[in-house]
Symmetry: D2
Subunit: 302 residues, 4 copies
């Protein structure tokens, strides 16, 4: 149960098989640095290039193809005092006719006030003088090496995770990934200080982080990423259109309710039909992300 | 500001121009009965046929094409002690490969315990012995006559509302609809005692209701349905795939933030990008429903 | 087997139940006038308004719900010397990023040279000085009253036909529609002098026509429109996204091969897998249109 | 202008950066062997595993990122006397409700009669006794290494090509691919003896081939694959849903008409609007394929 402090010196724009940056044991914790989506580090120095340069890969001993890697997000601490977003709304979330009137894309800076616990636009914007939502840190992009010798761009996501941009990948959440190669080969980065549903400007508040995560290898097989928070369990589907992402997440949740909670397909539908919640992770990247979520209080006792 | 008690004797399976069942003034309240999605009334007698037989249409005096009809949902009281759902999960939310293993569709009955405030499966289902979520009544299908002389099936939805199956169409919510004909011609029905996101078994808990709603005519023009709850404002898009429904809802929200809150497209994106929430109304009907929601606490003071 | 000459005086923007303009017998032929998509008649006088004003409805005696109405397109003769199109490409066929650079929409006029058998831009356009494709007349919008008391805008299409904008709905083709009301109630209009796949500028070459069609009532039931040309049989699906339209058309073709050609699902797949062709009718209207087409030479002898 | 005869001994299930199997000059021809989608070679020996094992990669000298690799398909000769398909229709092309009645998947064998020039089911199937369509060989999967260090599964396709399963990738066609790495790194395989549109059983007639292709490096930049046959030029988009694939292909064609034929966006729309054809490459793989095609006879003289 060691804790490793790792300082990255190289970054990856694809999630695949590469030389591990560090080998850790099942149960170990890693504290490491991540840079922002455009490659700026804690001093705002460009140390890598787009998209979403990743720290990693971490080799987790004992992880074998067919296993599941559980990653508990222990802490996400912004490592600088500003982040940035794009404006206006992304092309993917506007009616095509509304794109004709869209102002040009701009990059704007937000102050991350760790004392106040809020984010705030650096320059004054009419109507938003008082707009200061809480810092709600999350991991935009993380996951493990995919199957079939693939290396997938950190712009997108798939069964192995990747650029899901789902705001519940936050401190306290444990994320599960299906392992396809020995050691799992885990990457992380693209931290956001705040983000609504859908990553609808094409960004969260992009900044550098110190991230702390703890690994556990589960000797069980899953098909799509899963997660657990204090209150909920959830499954994640990544695809286009949103319909297909939702189908992946829903089917995976129905499987989970069978595997761990003893509900057959019919019973699972009774429960899900009344209490399921869907969250839109991102509706911006090449693959969109939908989470299927159930509050734990509705789950049968195990 | 009269209150009208209306007992329907005929029902409609399409929302369009028809002889009004009642004419009411701007500001009036209507208390009326609705039957369930399959046409069963409060005594479980079949008095109409599928899909979603509607009570109405109500002619609201002063409503003209280009106006907006605001409908406050004052009260939704189930008028019988049982409701029904389908099982298992709908074809639209499963991976196609999972459809191959899907058990046949069944209709199951739920007890609606108004004293306890819960719904509960009538027959015992393994693992769900303690499953009793709260009654959370909602309107599945309501809206006004569409434009261009159309009459649209109550199985589907469009800019004029219809079968949106969104659980925030609940007591305390005010829904706005774009008026296309004189008098608006408002219909309602398809009440659910409970329903998760997406109406993913193809039903909520379908039952008959006594519904109370209050009308107000707004001299303003909207493109898609909008709503307001105690905590939130939201816009609704209806289309396939979900992506397009989301685009409609998002574009309409951006317009609303401009019209009423003084935010230009860029400022609206700063706000929405950090705090927007998406809800899936239904992912079952011919048109899917996505709501774009913002908590009022983030809105600029007017 | 009478031939009726009908001169319309009123037009419809929705396909639904309305007072018949003419009652004809099974086997009869109708010769009638249609106006263009914007309501201009043969003299370019505006006699109706958008979208796609229809001539009809024709009541075909003997047609009952559950039957099929076969409509042979005998002749489509443009009734004026010009038509018009929009430019540039429609929003639905461009990458969203390309919409940012799109020039504003314009209406342009084409000369329809019936002697030469060609269409040609009226004003000179650089690079298209010699562009004169053949007149290939087609019906953009036609169909029968839908089920459930619906009236559907002539902007869109569904199981009952409507605005499919498929270029094989041309002289020599017989189109089949599923009948939902007594007399079928057939409408037609929106003729194009020429159009590529997809109606990708949002128009064909829109003009007024004299159209001649012959009706036959078939005592059989279909789910989606079907058609037959000299060389092919085809089925049509109308929906969004294109994937769903293609699923409807493909499933309907598999059914047809079973009903009329004795192929079970497996045999139908062997044949379709090697020789099927897909055509995109329109990728512009609220519902997109995909045709599934098989050359008759591959069909088993009946 | 050398001709190289290459016998592969290893195969790839992802298209990415790997040690070249052969270095060839701009203008050279390669004659090589490909194995079928499941890894069976000309003797029906399993020499590799799914999906779609590729021959390659070929390093083409002079090809640099930003260039275009033109690959002329000189000859595709089946190297054994049988191929196989799946039956029945794929899940992606059926209405979800029709999946409930779908018979289980089977693998069937076809005889490839090179003398008669036809393919024919090996076992007798009722109604298909005379069904013998012509051999129409095509390449199912080919392309070049993608950008950003990615390696993409040969089950799917993207801007770099891949598993497009488009039947016009046939002898006589020249395909263009955007080069992202030095040497382009070209792979090919997954030959089909015949296939209709869409690869709707999930296969063409899968068999091993001797393939002959000739490379040329073009000092120009493209975004999506393009092609040229004796009669047509075409562009290819790969994505889900079909709508997005069609948008990619259409936008790329509009660009091409500007680059090489002097048509601005408006003029391109006049031409495409009247004569464009869309083909569905595949509607089975993770990314669907749509081609946008124009007959050369309509193109302006250069």
């Amino acid at each position: 149960m060691a804790t490793h402090r790792f300082h990255p010196t190289r970054y990856f724009n694809a999630i695949g098989v590469a030389e591990p940056c560090l080998r850790v044991a099942d149960g170990d914790t890693v504290v490491t640095d991540t840079i922002d989506a455009s490659g700026l580090d804690a001093r705002e120095v460009a140390v890598a290039s787009r998209p979403n340069p990743m720290t990693g890969p971490f080799f987790i001993e004992g992880a074998e193809p067919g296993d599941t890697l559980a990653v508990r997000i222990d802490r996400l601490t912004p490592s600088r005092a500003t982040g940035w977003t794009y404006s206006p709304l992304a092309l993917t979330v506007l009616d095509p006719a509304a794109i004709l009137d869209r102002p040009p894309q701009q990059r704007v800076v937000w102050n991350i006030d760790r004392e106040a616990g809020t984010v705030r636009l650096q320059d004054k914007v009419k109507g938003l003088e008082d707009f200061a939502p809480p810092i709600q840190p999350m991991i935009g992009c993380f996951g493990v090496a995919p199957a079939f010798g693939q290396a997938l761009s950190t712009a997108t996501s798939a069964q192995n995770g990747g650029n899901m941009d789902y705001r519940l990948f936050a401190p306290g959440t444990t994320a599960w990934f299906p392992v396809s190669v020995r050691g799992a080969l885990f990457y992380l980065g693209d931290g956001h200080a705040c983000q609504g549903d859908g990553e609808i400007t094409g960004t969260g508040i992009e900044t550098s982080f110190e991230m702390e995560v703890t690994f556990r290898v589960l000797k069980r097989t899953i098909t799509w990423p899963r997660g657990e928070t204090a209150d909920d369990i959830f499954t994640v589907g990544n695809a286009r259109p949103l319909d297909q992402a939702l189908q992946h997440a829903t089917t995976e949740m129905s499987r989970w309710l069978g595997e761990d909670y003893g509900l057959d397909a019919r019973a699972a539908s009774h429960l899900m039909g009344q209490v399921v919640r869907y969250d839109v992770g991102n509706v911006f990247n090449p693959a969109f992300t939908v989470a299927c979520r159930i509050a734990k209080r509705w789950l049968p006792k195990r």
